[in-house]
C-alpha cells in the first residue's frame, strides 16, 4: 500500500477542461471518496492515477515514485469500473484469476486457488465460480468485479461508482463489507461516487470536485461541519442544506449574502413564524417543508410529530453558515 499524491494535475479534452490544477495527497491506508456531480472530474482523476489517461500538466506520484510514462500495468493499481465490469467470454473463476495470471504477477497455481477462494467467500459468490460471467445478476457481476480488484494487493485500489447500479439492500451490505475489507487490510482506496451516504459512511477523507477543481479536501465531518462554500456544503447532508438570503434573519455578518441552514441548525419553537407546507413521514424521521418569508426550506422534526399542513412553527437559526455573493464561506 502506498501514498498517492497529485500535484497540479490538469487535463483537457479538446476545449473542455476536465481537471484544473488538482493537488491532493491521499495518505497511505486512507479511504478517499471523490464527490461531485457528473462532469466534475471524478472519473478523470481515477484515470490519471491508473495511467489509462495521462495528465496534460502536473505530476502523479504513487508510493513516492513519479508515474509519468508508466503503463497501467507498471503502476500496480487495481480498478473497479462502473460499467462493462466482467470479461464476458470467461467464467467467474477465470475473471477472478485473470489479474493474478498476468505476466507481471505470475502467481503460483496454489496461491491463485487460495486467493480466489478467499475472495469468493468474502463476496459470497463461491457457488457461482463456474458460471459464465454472462449468467450472473447485476449484483453478482458487480461483486465479482470488486473481487477482481481485491484478489490483488496493489499500491492503490481505484473504484468508480462500484455500487451505483445495485439495489438498496445490496448496496448497504457491500458498503459495510468494502469498508471493513479496507480497514482490515490497510489498503489505500480512491473511490468515486455521487452518493453522499457512501461518502459519509466509508470515507476517511472526502474530496469535493467542482468542474475539474478540487474545492475542499478533508474528513467527511469536517466538510459537513465546516464547508468552504455553498457548493461543498450542498454535497453532504440529507435533506440538503437550505440556502436563503442572509438578511431573512437578523445578525448576519458584513459581507454575507446567503445564510446556510442545515436541519440541525434550525431551532423549532422559538423565533419567527413559518408556515408548514407539507409533512413527510419517512418513518425514522419526519421532514417539514416550511415557507418562511416566502422562501422554501426543509428541515427535520420528531418522527411522531403532530404538526400538519397549515400549522405555524416558530424557527430561529443556530450557528448558521454565512456565504458571500460568490458562494464562498464568510462565517
Amino acid at each position: 500500500m502506498a501514498e498517492v499524491s497529485l500535484t497540479g494535475v490538469t487535463k483537457c479534452f479538446g476545449a473542455d477542461t476536465a481537471l484544473d490544477n488538482v493537488t491532493m495527497t491521499i495518505p497511505d491506508g486512507s479511504f478517499v471518496v471523490l464527490l461531485g456531480p457528473t462532469g466534475a472530474g471524478k472519473t478523470t482523476t481515477l484515470r490519471m492515477v491508473s495511467g489509462l489517461d495521462n495528465p496534460d500538466a502536473g505530476q502523479v506520484m504513487i508510493g513516492g515514485r513519479d508515474m509519468a510514462g508508466l503503463t497501467p500495468a507498471q503502476r500496480d493499481v487495481a480498478m473497479v469500473f462502473q460499467q462493462y465490469s466482467l470479461y464476458p467470454h470467461m467464467t467467474v473463476r477465470d475473471n477472478l484469476e485473470f489479474p493474478l495470471k498476468s505476466p507481471i504477477l505470475k502467481t503460483s497455481k496454489d496461491q491463485i486457488k487460495r486467493k480466489v477462494g478467499e475472495i469468493a467467500e468474502i463476496l459470497q459468490i463461491s457457488h457461482k465460480l463456474d458460471n459464465k460471467a454472462t449468467e450472473l445478476s447485476g449484483g453478482e457481476m458487480q461483486r465479482v468485479s470488486i473481487g477482481r480488484a481485491l484478489v490483488r494487493k496493489p499500491m492503490v485500489y481505484l473504484m468508480d461508482e462500484p455500487l451505483s447500479s445495485l439495489d438498496a439492500k445490496l448496496r448497504a451490505d457491500l458498503r459495510v463489507e468494502l469498508k471493513s475489507i479496507q480497514a482490515d487490510s490497510g489498503a489505500t482506496l480512491l473511490y468515486v461516487t455521487h452518493d453522499q451516504i457512501e461518502a459519509m459512511t466509508m470515507a476517511t477523507h472526502v474530496g469535493v470536485l467542482d468542474q475539474g477543481r478540487l474545492v475542499q479536501f478533508g474528513a467527511p465531518r469536517e466538510i459537513y461541519e465546516d464547508p468552504v462554500s455553498i457548493y461543498a456544503a450542498s454535497r453532504l447532508g440529507q435533506p440538503r442544506i437550505n440556502v436563503l438570503p442572509a438578511d431573512v434573519f437578523a445578525g448576519a455578518p458584513s459581507g454575507a449574502a446567503k445564510i446556510g441552514l442545515r436541519p440541525e441548525q434550525i431551532i423549532q419553537g422559538e423565533g419567527e413564524e413559518s408556515f408548514v407546507q407539507r409533512v413527510e413521514h419517512l418513518g425514522d424521521q419526519t421532514r417539514l417543508h416550511l415557507t418562511f418569508k416566502s422562501h422554501d426550506l426543509i428541515t427535520v422534526t420528531d418522527a411522531h410529530t403532530e404538526l400538519k399542513t397549515g400549522d405555524i412553527v416558530k424557527i430561529s437559526p443556530r450557528k448558521p453558515f454565512y456565504f458571500g455573493a460568490d458562494g464562498a464561506r464568510v462565517a
Partner: protein
C-alpha cells in the same frame, strides 16, 4: 441496451413462415438438382422431360476422378476382368482407366488458395480494423474511404493491369499470386466488417486488462479477440465464399500448377459435351468445403455479440 419487441400476431408469423420456406425451396432446388445429376447416367442427365426418378449410377464420379481411353475389343480382352467397381463402370462404357484425372490437384489448389487467402485476410483485416477502431490513425477517414473505394468497381475491371503486373512479377499461375490477389480483393470488405464488430466491443474491457497487468497486445489477444470471434467467423465465411467461387481471375491467371477448381470443372464435360454427370459430381464435391466451414462456424454466426456481461 433496452428495447421493446411486440410479439407479431399469428397471421404475420404464418406469412413470414411461408415466405421463408418458399425462399428456401427456390434456393435449394438447383442445389438438389446438381446433386441428383451427379448420380445420373449421361443419358438420364439430358433426358427430356427431365427425370426426377432415375436409376443411380456412379459413372459421373468415376469419370470425374479418372482419365479413360476408348478401348478396342482386343484391348479389353488383354486387360482381363475388371478388378474394382470403378474399373467395371469404365469398362461398361467401353473404356479403360488410364490414370487419375486432374480434379484432385485442382481441388487441392482451391483449398490452398481459398483458405490461404481467407486466413491472410483475417489476420491483416483484424489488425487493421483494431487499429482503425482504437487508435488515433492520421487521415483515418480518408484511409477508410480509400480502402472502401477499392471495391467501387468490379475487380475484373482491372484484370488487364493485374495480368501484366503478375506476368512481370512472375506471379502468373502461382499459389502465392492467387492468394495475394484474393486477399487484396477481400481486404476492404474484411476491414470494414471487422471494424464494425470491434467498435461494438467496449474499450473498458481492454482498459480493465491493462490495469490487470497485461500489455496492449496481450489485452487484444486475450480479451478483444475472443469477443470478436463472432465477427471474425462471419467475415471469414464471406471471404472464403468469394475466393472459393471466383472464376474470372482464375481463368485468366491460372492454367496449370495453380489452377483452381472453378475453371477446371467446365473442361470435364469432354469433347462430346455430354458428360454432365461428371460436371455435376465435380460441382457437388466442390460445394462441400464451404458448407462444412459454414456449419462449423454456425455457432458463432448465431450466438451474436456478447452483450450479456455488461451493464448499460
Amino acid at each position: 441496451m433496452s428495447f421493446s419487441v411486440t410479439e407479431p400476431n399469428k397471421g404475420t408469423k404464418w406469412f413470414a413462415g411461408v415466405l421463408v420456406v418458399g425462399y428456401a425451396l427456390v434456393t435449394i432446388a438447383p442445389l438438389l438438382w446438381i446433386i441428383a445429376t451427379g448420380f445420373k447416367s449421361p443419358a438420364d442427365s439430358i433426358a427430356y422431360p427431365p427425370k426426377v426418378v432415375f436409376e443411380p449410377s456412379m459413372e459421373g464420379y468415376v469419370n470425374l476422378f479418372t482419365e479413360r481411353t476408348r478401348a478396342t475389343d482386343d484391348m479389353l480382352e488383354a486387360a482381363g476382368e475388371p478388378t474394382t467397381w470403378y474399373e467395371e463402370i469404365a469398362r461398361d462404357q467401353g473404356t479403360v482407366i488410364s490414370g487419375p484425372s486432374r480434379y484432385g490437384e485442382r481441388f487441392l489448389n482451391s483449398v490452398i488458395i481459398g483458405f490461404g487467402s481467407t486466413a491472410l485476410c483475417m489476420i491483416l483485416g483484424t489488425a487493421a480494423a483494431y487499429a482503425f477502431s482504437r487508435f488515433r490513425v492520421p487521415l483515418k477517414d480518408d484511409l477508410l474511404f480509400f480502402i472502401l473505394s477499392t471495391r467501387m468497381m468490379p475487380p475484373i475491371a482491372v484484370a488487364i493491369p493485374i495480368f501484366l503486373m503478375f506476368r512481370n512479377l512472375g506471379l502468373n499461375d502461382t499459389h502465392l499470386g492467387m492468394i495475394l490477389l484474393y486477399t487484396g480483393v477481400n481486404l476492404s470488405l474484411s476491414v470494414w466488417l471487422l471494424k464494425g464488430f470491434i467498435d461494438e466491443i467496449p474499450i473498458e474491457y481492454e482498459e480493465a486488462a491493462l490495469i490487470d497487468g497485461y500489455t496492449r497486445f496481450q489485452a487484444f489477444y486475450k480479451v478483444v479477440l475472443p469477443q470478436a470471434a463472432t465477427g471474425i467467423a462471419s467475415t471469414a465465411i464471406f471471404c472464403l465464399i468469394f475466393a472459393w467461387n471466383e472464376y474470372a481471375f482464375a481463368v485468366l491467371l491460372t492454367s496449370g500448377t495453380a489452377q483452381t477448381a472453378p475453371p477446371f470443372i467446365p473442361t470435364i464435360i469432354g469433347v462430346g459435351g455430354k458428360d454432365w454427370p461428371a460436371v455435376a459430381a465435380g460441382a457437388t464435391i466442390f460445394l462441400v468445403p464451404v458448407m462444412v466451414f459454414t456449419i462449423l462456424l454456425r455457432k458463432h454466426l448465431l450466438r451474436g455479440i456478447t452483450f450479456g456481461a455488461v451493464r448499460k
